[in-house]
Symmetry: C2
Subunit: 231 residues, 2 copies
DNA sequence: CATCTTGTCAAGTAATCACTTAAATACTTG
DNA sequence: CAAGTATTTAAGTGATTACTTGACAAGATG
């Protein structure tokens, strides 16, 4: 049995401090798994049922349910029941801020993340980006076509004002209806969503001038830029 | 057999996506331990050597070194050598933002965190708080005494402009020199630092009007409010 | 009510993590 | 270069975590 120094006594109980910081770390623990990070990234688009989430992250429903519980315990998610389904959503805006901070730090400072991103998103050499602010200005001044290449349900739940819904799977079908002399900007779920990169590569290979928004719809909305609802 | 959109492609994507999000989750993993959270909270005050950190979190130097490596790997810390010592510091401002987001979510939404905080900091019922902005205004208009109750080395490394250094251990000695008719505001390392709470309780028990700043020096500095250096 | 759908819980296994002690490095100073 | 200090690495152990399969619980619907 070791005796605590007088310094520790003045600082309060060591065990209590440890417990408090363990409690604070619970929040980080909730995000400390690639699968749970995928869930948060997905739910930044809007609420989803357990089954939808399980499909999206390619895990069993039981395992997904387990992860969701961990995220709720960490305070990152809320759930609500609607009929036989339970829908999960981000608890509030500070969760989106937390996820954004994690992404920023990872992109700036985690060794090898650029390679992992390239492996998933494809070579980004040919994919130029537009910032939110630049795109907002271009939309106002005209002369740009904005494509929302997410699944159409996500477009319906909220999209950039003036954007056209062209899910990536249907892009080929819409190529003919795009004017060839206007720049196209594609966007999707966020900086680590593959749809916009794929769309830009496809468009460029067909002779269009195309770039991607450097992040996605959630960031656009969070920045207070104009959005619209419905089909 | 090169079919686009075949199952093989999707499975390849899946592995790459998992790897990418595992990489993003590395950042959260770095914070996902109470001891590492304590380290980040401490380093928000400024850089520290391994030994100082080990003492502060009450762990062996070897174990602390291990935790520090994990934090560096997650991109949260940088280190520099000075003579025989190695000093660690937060890598940049987004790490402070990350830690602030974690604290906000934990305080708002983690069940039982209020009890853990009370157990460490003591009952906060009698400890009223002042916001940063209110304190900044009060300092400008005069009529308030600001006490920095952190160890004097931390005061020297940076403090709120106009604050007086009164380490908590020396508070009793300074009581006589404080005017009884002016409000006293104490601050320390942050919302989960115990010094300011202890100081306010001590001052109030001696008849002073006293409150604590609701967060601490790092948040003050991050908000761009006036600071000063040196003794 | 019985039955269906959706989601959660339980038990088990392999992998990872936190911490310990002991030894090895990296640098400074004599 | 040798000695000394500060920090990292290695090896080992008990605890925790992620995921699997199979069973169970809560509502919705006929």
């Amino acid at each position: 049995m070791e005796e605590r120094g007088s310094q520790d006594d003045r600082m309060g109980d060591r065990a209590a401090k440890d417990a408090l910081f363990d409690g604070l770390a619970e929040v980080a623990k909730a995000l400390a798994s690639g699968r749970r990070a995928e869930i948060v990234d997905l739910l930044a688009q809007g609420e989803r049922s357990v089954e939808e989430i399980a499909t999206e992250i390619a895990q069993s429903v039981a395992n997904t349910s387990h992860h969701l519980r961990a995220l709720v315990r960490g305070g990152l998610l809320d759930s609500r029941r609607d009929g036989t389904r339970i829908f999960y959503a981000l608890a509030n805006d500070s969760v989106a801020a937390l996820w954004a901070a994690v992404r920023t730090i990872a992109a700036d400072r985690v060794a090898g993340l650029d390679k992992l991103a390239a492996a998933y998103l494809g070579q980004r050499d040919g994919v130029d980006v537009v910032s939110r602010d630049e795109l907002a200005a271009r939309i106002n001044s005209g002369g740009v076509i904005v494509l929302d290449v997410r699944p159409s349900a996500e477009y319906a739940a909220g999209h950039i004002s003036g954007a056209r819904s062209v899910p990536i799977a249907e892009l080929r079908r819409h190529l003919a209806s795009l004017p060839g002399d206007v720049e196209v900007v594609a966007y999707c779920r966020g900086p680590y969503c593959v749809y916009a990169d794929d769309a830009v590569r496809e468009l460029r290979s067909k002779g269009f001038t195309a770039r991607r928004l450097d992040d996605g719809y959630p960031e656009w909305k969070r920045a207070g830029l104009p959005t619209a609802l419905g089909a």
